[in-house]
């Protein structure tokens, strides 16, 4: 479709929101931040501790997800009995916040194309009521993929109040030679996450879950900082559960996801698509994720 299409104007609000998030941000001295994860520690759990939890939930953890080809996803998806998440050494240590040196980052990549699927991603929950998941380096060739519904229901967590924050900031980069470089940042709130009990996880339901408030960013070849204000997040206006008012529920947030979508989505069963079924490859890096304080 052409850039001058009417669809662009119809989706104007969303695209404007996305455009706002597309440029690397400056580092204004007037802002203050709360560290979620600088990826320099060990293990998959984020250091950020929710200030108030009713259930005494622990910190959340990083994990990857996809619907197909999970053995081709690096790191592969974690399951409740095997934590497969790892951080990766950055190609060249660089300076992030307050002169800190970053040596490691969250890297998600594909070793083989993911064919005929919506996409893939990595996320962290803000809390977790699962204390321990044993680390594992075993990756069966037929590693089952966590479907969105099952994946989230397997990870009980407590929603967190983020009203003290006005956005999220992070460093990111991508290898354009590896594939897609556009990443969507999604806020998994009570209205879009099936754990909130409001939306319907059934696919194609009129009140379907997973239509999270999001903004997309185009990652470059080197680490740059991006900042996404929660007020800039937009929901796809055409499907799923859309709350009124149409804004993220910052009082009840489960986590944050970084997703890569397959351009063109899937080829329907029994159909022939021009050029064959669509496929997705990528190599994206996310580092030093902070909340922006109000």
């Amino acid at each position: 479709m052409s850039p001058s299409s009417n669809a662009v104007s119809r989706l104007g609000a969303l695209l404007v929101a996305q455009a706002c998030a597309c440029s690397p941000s400056t580092d204004p001295a007037s802002e203050s931040y709360s560290r979620i994860d600088d990826m320099e520690g060990e293990g998959s759990r984020i250091p950020w501790q929710a200030p108030h939890t009713d259930s005494g939930a622990g910190t959340g953890r990083w994990q990857s997800f996809a619907d197909v080809g999970c053995a081709s996803l690096v790191p592969p998806p974690t399951s409740p009995d095997a934590d497969r998440w790892t951080f990766t050494d950055v190609p060249k240590p660089y300076t992030t916040f307050s002169g800190a040196r970053s040596t490691r980052a969250a890297r998600l990549s594909t070793t083989e194309p993911l064919v005929d699927t919506w996409g893939a991603g990595m996320r962290f929950d803000l809390t977790s009521t699962i204390d321990t998941v044993e680390p594992s380096t075993e990756v069966p060739d037929d590693l089952p993929c966590p479907t969105a519904e099952r994946d989230l229901s397997e990870w009980p967590a407590e929603a967190v109040d983020l009203r003290d924050y006005r956005g999220i900031t992070f460093f990111g980069m991508a290898d354009a030679a590896a594939g897609t470089t556009r990443v969507s940042v999604l806020l998994l709130d009570r209205n879009s996450d099936p754990r909130g009990g409001i939306c319907d996880p059934t696919q194609a339901s009129p009140t379907e879950c997973f239509n999270s408030f999001a903004a997309s960013v185009e990652l470059g070849a080197d680490f740059k900082r991006f900042q996404v204000d929660f007020s800039e997040l937009g929901q796809d206006p055409q499907w799923g559960y859309r709350p009124t008012p149409n804004e993220p529920d910052l009082e009840h947030v489960y986590g944050v996801a970084f997703q890569v979508f397959t351009p063109g989505g899937v080829c329907p069963d029994g159909a022939v698509c021009p050029g064959g079924p669509p496929s997705l490859t990528f190599d994206i890096w996310i580092d030093d994720v902070y909340f922006v304080n109000r």
Binding site: M1, Q203, Q238, P263, P268, G270, P274
Partner: protein, 228 residues
């Protein structure tokens, strides 16, 4: 004082009277695809275009070519169909379709028309007289009798016949003129209008009247698809 109170009352009532919201105010034109973008993708939530044969379904051999090609202006999309009615002493009304689908339902209840451009180039064995070209909207999550797909599990759709020629023509099709095909024995709840809030596919199909064992087909072209 009484007059003032009366005026205050009337003014207050008046304020409530004018509070009306048009639920369709935000439903502007929606360009599905003009096929000019480098990404060759329709507008979200629609996925990439595909070509498929039906009756029999899932018969990739019915599609000899599925490609982006010269359109009405610039680039368009084309499917070349070699259709054959299965020889089984029955007429299956075999056909082929160009379609873009979404796993998400699109609410078109506030839109009035489907706009598209199309043409058909008959193959060496053209489809017989009586074959039809239809604009198609699918709504697989529509209900019949309160059940998605009805008791028969039908993937519901609504159609509108178009008269295609070998030259490009632009069509402006009222959504109110679409009808549910008669072979779908269960009626969509709310009839044809019940499909519009749940549209998950848009396309153009050739539905033939090929006799038992007969073959025929041709190239179906589409361009400039939008809703207004």
């Amino acid at each position: 004082m009484k007059t003032a109170l009366c005026l205050l009352f009337l003014t207050t009532v008046g304020c409530f009277d004018v509070e009306q919201v048009d639920p369709c105010a935000a439903a502007g034109p929606f360009l599905v695809d003009d096929f000019e973008g480098a990404d060759e993708l329709p507008a979200p939530p629609f996925g990439q275009w595909s070509c498929r044969g039906f009756n029999p379904d899932d018969a990739p051999e019915a599609v000899t070519e599925c490609t982006f090609t010269t359109g009405q202006d610039g680039q368009g999309f084309m499917g070349d169909f070699a259709l054959q009615d299965v020889r089984n002493m029955m007429q299956e009304f075999t056909g082929g379709a160009l379609r873009t689908s979404s796993t998400r339902a699109l609410d078109l209840s506030c839109h009035r028309e489907l706009l598209l451009s199309a043409r058909f180039e008959a193959g060496p064995m053209p489809p017989p007289a009586g074959s039809t070209f239809n604009a198609e909207l699918t709504c697989q999550s529509a209900k019949a009798g309160g059940v998605v797909g009805g008791t028969s599990g039908t993937a519901f759709s609504i159609l509108r016949i178009l008269s295609l020629t070998s030259s490009w023509q632009s069509f402006r099709v009222p959504l109110s003129s679409f009808t549910q095909p008669s072979w779908q024995t269960e009626r969509i709840d709310g009839n044809e209008r019940g499909c519009l809030p749940l549209v998950d596919g848009v396309g153009l199909q050739l539905s033939t009247t090929l006799a038992d064992g007969e073959s025929g087909g041709g190239k179906l072209f589409i361009d400039n698809v939008s809703f207004e």
